[in-house]
């Protein structure tokens, strides 16, 4: 993580340290640590505004008043226009992806991407498809890549159907 921050700082990606905000979607316990069985510091009522510090898996570290603790990520809704910093990875700066207006303004971006018409009128580009194919990974490459990342395959059943 330190290496990441150092790398980002070097490349000048962390442009602003503006606070990211979120609203609780439901009554939510704030924990001392990002675990279900950690000590509960306080219970935030529904629609509480908090400052977002960081995310770790299903937990988000937030600050409410003077208390800092962890709440379930999916109990939060990020406040529009405050998430610039979090969503600013290297690619975004490097490739000049259009930035959205801050503070929830209604400014739309100037660069227009792939549209409905583009898709309806699309003509085949077999050359690009052949080019794409040369980047495909073999099973062996994929396994080696997973091992390098210390990713361990798990047996996990599909979740039962939700709303039908």
């Amino acid at each position: 993580m330190k290496r990441l921050i150092a790398a980002l700082l070097t490349l000048g990606f962390i442009a602003s340290a503006a606070a990211e905000e979120a609203i609780t979607l439901r009554s939510t316990e704030m924990k001392a640590k990002p675990y279900s069985d950690a000590q509960t510091l306080l219970t935030l009522p529904e629609r509480s505004k908090v400052e977002v510090l960081q995310r770790r898996a299903s937990w988000t570290q937030v600050k409410s008043g003077k208390t800092t603790g962890w709440v379930k990520m999916l109990s939060l809704q990020l406040v529009r226009g405050t998430t610039q910093r979090r969503a600013d990875n290297g690619l975004r700066s490097l490739f000049n992806v259009a930035q959205t207006g801050r503070g929830g303004s209604n400014v739309t971006t100037g660069v227009r991407g792939l549209s409905e018409e583009d898709l309806k009128n699309a003509k085949p580009n077999p050359q690009a498809l052949a080019e794409a194919q040369q980047f495909a990974a073999t099973k062996a490459e994929a396994k080696r890549f997973a091992m390098q990342g210390k990713l361990k395959a798990q047996q996990v059943d599909y979740l039962p159907g939700g709303e039908r």
Partner: protein, 279 residues
């Protein structure tokens, strides 16, 4: 073709029962016909891959491939590793990043998956990328696009392909029409339930591949916070259920089933390294 099959099956059933008309089971015969008809309305795997490659070629005609071999190879490795954890590990999976500012991702039958640069640029780690790719992989696993074609305005052509009346080699104009119809699905969107199903399967596939399964909801949460008037989200809004609904369903479905996997790595450092590297 179908009429011919129907007639043949009926005449077979009738002649087999010819000595005992009293026992002729019309209901059974009709069921047999329905069964044969159904079997012939699904395309074979080679046909699926051929159709998918045509759709992928069209997609690349609409948006170019990002000229960054390192990013392309990286996305292929993440995607292929996830695909190995699925019920279709052996189809020719192929992943790609489109050089497009729009925020979107696409899957085509047979194992073709593309994400836009605009979406990739808003991710924070490899688990988020894995979550999005796993959602797209699930569309391929469940053949959602084939289902949409089967139900759509070109359903006759789809049946013709399934019944081998259209050959995938030789440039049959009907295949081109079917490929166009397949590409247009991206402008119209899939069934909402198909999107929810892919969310539900995607988080499981990410967990199977050893990632923090909360990458997909994290991306959805980031996108939810983007100004909805952003033109780069217009197509995504039109073709997908709301982020609010998707996140609400995932919140209910993932807890507590996937809690045991939440401490799996998100590989933020590896992700940042690839994104920051200049080609």
């Amino acid at each position: 073709m179908r009429t011919l099959v129907l007639m043949m099956v009926l005449s077979l059933s009738v002649s087999a029962q010819a000595f005992d008309f009293g026992n002729f089971d019309l209901e059974k015969a009709v069921k047999t016909v329905q069964k044969i008809k159904k079997a012939n309305e699904d395309v074979s795997e080679p046909q699926e891959i051929e159709l998918g490659s045509g759709i992928a070629s069209n997609l690349l005609g609409a948006a170019p491939l990002l000229d960054n071999p390192e990013v392309q190879r990286y996305v292929n490795r993440v995607g292929r590793w996830i695909a190995l954890q699925t019920e279709r590990p052996d189809i020719p999976w192929q992943f790609g990043v489109l050089d497009d500012a729009d925020i979107n991702a696409f899957a085509a039958p047979g194992g073709y998956v593309f994400i836009t640069k605009g979406l990739l640029a808003r991710m924070n780690n490899e688990a988020e990328l894995a979550g999005v790719l796993a959602h797209e992989i699930s569309h391929v696993l469940r053949k959602h696009h084939l289902q949409a074609l089967k139900k759509g305005a070109r359903s006759e052509l789809f049946s013709d392909l399934a019944n081998d009346a259209i050959k995938t080699q030789g440039g049959d104009p009907r295949l081109t029409k079917l490929v166009s119809a397949g590409t247009e699905i991206y402008a119209r969107g899939l069934d909402k339930q198909d999107e929810f199903e892919s969310d539900r399967m995607g988080v499981v596939l990410a967990a199977r591949a050893g990632y923090d399964p909360y990458g997909l909801p994290a991306v959805l949460q980031t996108l939810q916070s983007i100004n909805p008037n952003d033109s780069n989200l217009a197509l995504m809004f039109k073709t997908h259920p709301s982020f609010d609904k998707r996140l609400q369903l995932l919140a209910d479905e993932m807890t507590p089933a996937l809690d045991a996997y939440e401490r799996q790595p998100d590989l933020d450092v590896r992700f940042a390294g690839v994104m920051a590297a200049r080609k």
